[in-house]
């Protein structure tokens, strides 16, 4: 929380009592004549002739508060993550800070120039070359031409697209486009950087490089970073503080790990012990000669190390001699954690129930999703039959205290490997 922090630090952003109201329904669709009539009536204290009779005056233009009273103080050099479900108000908050739109109430003070990246490559034009777009994008984000000239070499180097820098960007692959755009933004001198999901694109290696660059900006150069993402891993890697938003309010502000578990808890609603599927729930790929009717877990909560029994009910149109499951275990945010193969089995046409045992000893405490692929091995060829995506979940809990603390997902990840065993050494043991 803000009051825990040392107040001698310099404030970068102060937000007090900020609200943003949006009017629902069609906006701006009135005609000039109707507006003039209403204005005339208001001026002369008459009733507005454009009001529908019987309409409640208080409800005119139904509105909702995208932000409903936000108070925040962010200090220089902090990297703050903002998480929350869709519609929580994250992006609206960033829009206000970027001055794209103004608040309905409240005040914001920004101490420093703001670089906003609500989108990668704002102002990029396909007809212009990479170099021209660097100038365009850079000046839009607030740099002068002289500043860009000085940084050009660094930007081109960072972007990894040097060979294509004088080619129109419409010829770029989407990855190259993103790299170039991000490089411009990463080299801005602005004291406050605001980013909305901009790292969701681009390959992993580049993403990592960008996160490193951002972290460096915050920690070494004392810049302030505000970062919105649905990818909890990037939040963990970049941020030193995290804010959880819900329905236009800040519901948590503080430790990153606590924020993420609070946010993930709201997604735990996905976790049940029995699931029934229709044919439509199956993923788009596969031969579809069979589909999974239901999955029943022996429990949706297991103690770490306990066996989880999973019963699949398969409805097949053809007999399969060597069918099997290939299951990906993912985190709630969808990152893959590991692959679970299964023993192969044979089934005939019609409905078959298969029960498998999943050992959970290696899964760290936390919530997981489970994506099974049903395949049929025909000679050496694995034919994908059907697929269920992110619909099955379970929780692994543990009372074990690891090294004086609970499991630290941020540092330790999701897998608890088996203990290392000391090799019995014979000659060097002085006791012998």
């Amino acid at each position: 929380m803000a009051d825990m922090t040392n107040d001698s630090r310099k404030v970068a952003i102060r937000i007090s009592g900020v609200k943003k109201r949006y009017v629902l329904g069609q906006i701006g669709g009135r005609t000039l004549q109707a507006d003039l009539q209403s204005w005339w009536a208001r001026k002369h204290g008459k009733e507005d002739p454009n009001t529908v009779i019987g309409q409640d005056q208080r409800l005119i233009g139904q509105s909702f508060m995208a932000l409903n009273g936000i108070d925040l103080t962010i200090y220089q050099g902090e990297a703050v993550g903002i998480i929350g479900s869709n519609g929580a108000g994250k992006s609206t908050l960033l829009k206000l800070l970027s001055r794209v739109t103004a608040p309905t109430a409240g005040e914001i003070d920004l101490y420093g120039r703001v670089a906003s990246m609500l989108e990668v490559g704002t102002g990029f034009n396909g007809e212009m070359t990479g170099r021209e777009n660097i100038y365009m994008n850079g000046t839009i984000l607030g740099m002068t031409k002289a500043e860009i000239d000085k940084k050009m070499e660094q930007i081109v180097e960072f972007s990894e697209v040097r060979d294509f820098i004088d080619t129109p960007v419409k010829r770029y692959s989407s990855g190259m486009y993103v790299k170039l755009a991000f490089s411009v933004a990463a080299h801005l001198d602005n004291e406050i950087m605001i980013m909305d999901e901009v790292l969701a694109v681009g390959d992993m290696a580049f993403q990592k490089k960008c996160l490193g660059k951002m972290r460096e900006a915050a920690m070494k150069e004392g810049r302030t970073v505000l970062y919105v993402s649905h990818n909890m891993n990037t939040i963990r890697q970049l941020c030193s503080r995290c804010i959880v938003m819900d329905q236009g309010k800040v519901i948590f502000d503080g430790d990153v790990e606590k924020a993420i578990s609070l946010y993930s808890a709201s997604k735990d609603a996905l976790i049940r012990s029995a699931y029934a599927f229709t044919e439509e729930d199956q993923g788009p790929e596969g031969e579809k000669s069979a589909w999974i009717e239901s999955v029943v877990l022996s429990s949706s909560d297991v103690e770490q190390g306990e066996d989880l029994e999973i019963t699949f009910r398969i409805n097949s149109r053809i007999p399969m001699a060597s069918a099997g499951f290939r299951c990906v275990v993912t985190s709630l945010s969808g990152e893959a954690i590991g692959l679970v193969p299964s023993e192969e089995f044979s089934i005939g046409a019609g409905v078959t129930e298969i029960t498998m045992v999943l050992r959970t000893g290696e899964l760290a405490p936390g919530s997981y999703l489970f994506d099974p692929v049903l395949y049929d091995r025909r000679k050496e060829d694995y034919v994908k039959i059907t697929h269920i995506i992110q619909a099955i979940g379970f929780r692994v809990s543990s009372a074990v205290i690891y090294y004086n603390t609970v499991w630290q997902k941020k540092y330790w990840g999701n897998v608890l490997f088996e203990k290392m065993i000391r090799v019995k050494d014979q000659e060097e043991d002085p006791g012998e």
């Binding site: 000039l32 507006d35 005040e107 920004l110 906003s116 004291e191």
Partner: protein, 281 residues
Amino acid sequence: MDTNYHIHITSKPKGLSLNLREVWDYRDLIVLFTKRSFALTFKQTVLGPAWIFLNPLITSIIHTLVFGEIAGFGTDGIPKILFYFTSTALWNYYANCITQNATTFTSNAAVFGKVYFPRLSIPISNMISALIRFAIQMLLVGAFLVFFLLRGEVHPHWAYWPVLPFVLLQLGMMGLGVGIIVSSLTTKYRDLSILVGFGVQLWMYATPIVYSLSIVGPSLTRNIMLINPVTLPVEVFRYAFLGQGTIVAGYLIWSIVFTFAVMILGILIFNRVEKTFMDTV
């Protein structure tokens, strides 16, 4: 690092500040927008920049034929093609300032919705592009002028030539002012974007472009034309550049006052609209 930099954002409008200092800070952006508008207009066209000449040249030839030859409108004794080319280029400059700027908000919504920069840099760069186009057209007009000068058919008032840049500035400012008022209102009332192309066309006929003011005898029509704030700048321009034009001091002052009024009003409305237009577009 400039730690003294401070921005205060409130829900209340900023009052009557024109905010021009910030525009100056972003001057490099204005230059880039201007360059871009040229670079993009002629990419993948066959004739490329020749279009800058061709468009007004063809229009002036048509004007010469229709209004000069068929209708027989007077041109104060100035060679017709020279008269029409000069007037058309001048009007195109003014009209471009209006029409290009009238869609500032709607056609830049994608960029405006993602990043802040002084929105006024777009109209200003549009005005500069229009001015550069005009200057390029004047090269060809200049060639005609030299041709007719050598034949002794035109007698410019050279002493008044220093006034020309001011006339251009005035027309640019007026066009900018009208354009951004329309663009600000367009965010709410889309009808205006349809009206503006049509309106500018009509406005041309109320301005001595395809005829000279001298052929309109004293009448209500003439007074209406004089009140039209574009009339006097056009006449002053032709008086200096081509040697013939009708100048009425009182109406010239009115035109200048109108220019400043419309520009300041325009910037004030524009600055007010830019804060929340993203919610309504």
